[in-house]
Point group: C2
């Protein structure tokens, strides 16, 4: 197996792209792919301030590394959710994020939800039935709100998350099985800013998880290997398992599924829903000022208010 | 396990509907479900003449039986494709269709493509590369054309096929992975008539394959059990396998996927594509008069012309 670019020994064979590369060319190639998506969707420019949502895992640290090397002004934000206090999952993740930023002399904002809202995710989760049965949904609610709030308060031009292709297609498949047009209409890797809503981007959206892992490995990025204790057996993991089997049998399936979907949005599928979403986005929570579908107190503020 | 309606011993437990039924109530229930879909989509009425595409398999004979018992004027049409002459697959299927119609004194039109077009499917398939690599696609082309032609020539009000829920969701999943909006926009269980195009309906669209098999078994309908020799390992079978695993883990997944999709069409997803398809449907093949996307010779007529 030889590198397509230089003929040296390849370190990775990506059947999905019919491409084998050596370490040197892979470490060039991946950021080029990311840059292309940033340009294609006009996510941000070299003049913009970028806030990277960092979990301490391989994807978010790899993304931050790539953006930094590409010359973007990218700071990080880490939210300590207080997950699994016993095994110290959140504190360990935070330590990885901190080492990473210190080594590169990058700025990292850290937010501890127990300090700020007097409860950890685990405590919020025990508070009501939805949290107990679906802690991942609660975690998503908290993170979305706090990340958006931080980007707005600190005047970042864009907030980016490190959702990779495997994440995106697993969510896409779940949303497609439900045919939830509200979600399907909002699936582009860029969401423009609006009232109470910071611009969002997903520069890793066409990077396979395996490619992101290889990048972190070859760059010797230290990250938390443990999966979040809540994520085991969730629905997304189930769909990822099946998508992996399809990918195995038909290499490139995930990428085709995702790119075909983006093309479908471009071709005007869900156009009506998109207009509707823009109208909805005008409704803001009277407490925090972030968008909410009802125009009354948003789900985050209702959660925080609960005793 | 007891029948929900009468408390007698149930013969089938349908987790997808949270419903167990005895033989008597199942044989009532399934036609009621079919009748509901016929009404909901205005597929046809008791005054219309219905042509059922019959393959000799469990689904098409069960459908014909159901329509006959519901009091519809339903004739059958069987196309002998000359598949696998050695194992006599087509002739055996035809014999099942003929016995079924004779027992019920129903009219069956039979068409032998070797007699009519001087070649069997196997011979057409050997004729070019597409046929050799994708005989199922060639078979679909031939059947669609001939069924449509027969319905038009013999003035039937509607042509119905016995696609069951498992068939529909497997096709839907494949089309969704491709995000082929042309196909997705045409997925309703009814396609209205147009120039050169007979009205089509799929009354079994929400019947699980297992329910259709149980119906045939309990009604003692004799049908060909052998799968078409070409169908083994095709893409549809692959997706059916995965959908079966999802159904196993989350009963009702197939039905939700399908009904949510129908709802999405109702909500106007793909509306633009549907209008576009209506414009396209005005283009007719100059030889046979059936719709074609190009306005020049259709794929069927091109195939027949080939030496």
């Amino acid at each position: 197996m030889r590198c397509r670019k230089c003929g040296e020994k390849a370190v990775i064979n990506m059947k999905q792209h019919r491409l084998s590369l050596c370490k040197h060319h892979f470490l060039d190639w991946l950021p080029e792919q990311v840059e292309k998506m940033i340009q294609k969707y006009g996510m941000f420019s070299k003049n913009d301030t970028v806030l990277v949502a960092v979990s301490g895992g391989k994807d978010s640290l790899a993304l931050w590394d790539v953006l930094w090397r590409l010359g973007y002004k990218a700071d990080g934000v880490y939210i300590n959710l207080g997950i699994d206090e016993e095994h110290d999952y959140s504190n360990q993740s935070q330590a990885y994020a901190q080492s990473f930023s210190a080594e590169r002399n990058l700025e990292l904002i850290t937010i501890n939800i127990k300090d700020k809202y007097s409860k950890s995710l685990s405590e919020f989760a025990r508070q009501n039935r939805r949290g107990r049965s679906k802690p991942c949904s609660l975690c998503g609610l908290l993170k979305r709100h706090i990340l958006n709030q931080t980007a707005l308060e600190k005047n970042y031009d864009v907030l980016v998350t490190a959702h990779n292709l495997d994440d995106e297609v697993a969510i896409l498949l779940a949303n497609t099985l439900d045919w939830s047009l509200d979600y399907l209409s909002r699936g582009l890797p860029i969401l423009p800013s609006g009232p109470g809503f910071a611009q969002k981007g997903k520069p890793f959206c066409r990077v396979y998880e395996r490619e992101s892992a290889a990048y972190s490995f070859l760059r010797k990025i230290s990250y938390i290997h443990q999966e979040c204790p809540y994520s085991i057996n969730n629905k997304q993991a189930f769909f990822k398992h099946h998508l992996n089997q399809w990918e195995e049998k038909m290499p490139g399936t995930k990428l085709r599924f995702y790119l075909n979907y983006l093309r479908a949005i471009d071709e005007g599928a869900f156009a009506e829903k998109q207009e509707h979403a823009e109208v909805l986005a005008e409704k803001l929570c009277p407490q925090c000022g972030q968008p909410t579908t009802t125009g009354s107190l948003c789900a985050f503020c209702r959660l925080i208010k609960q005793k």
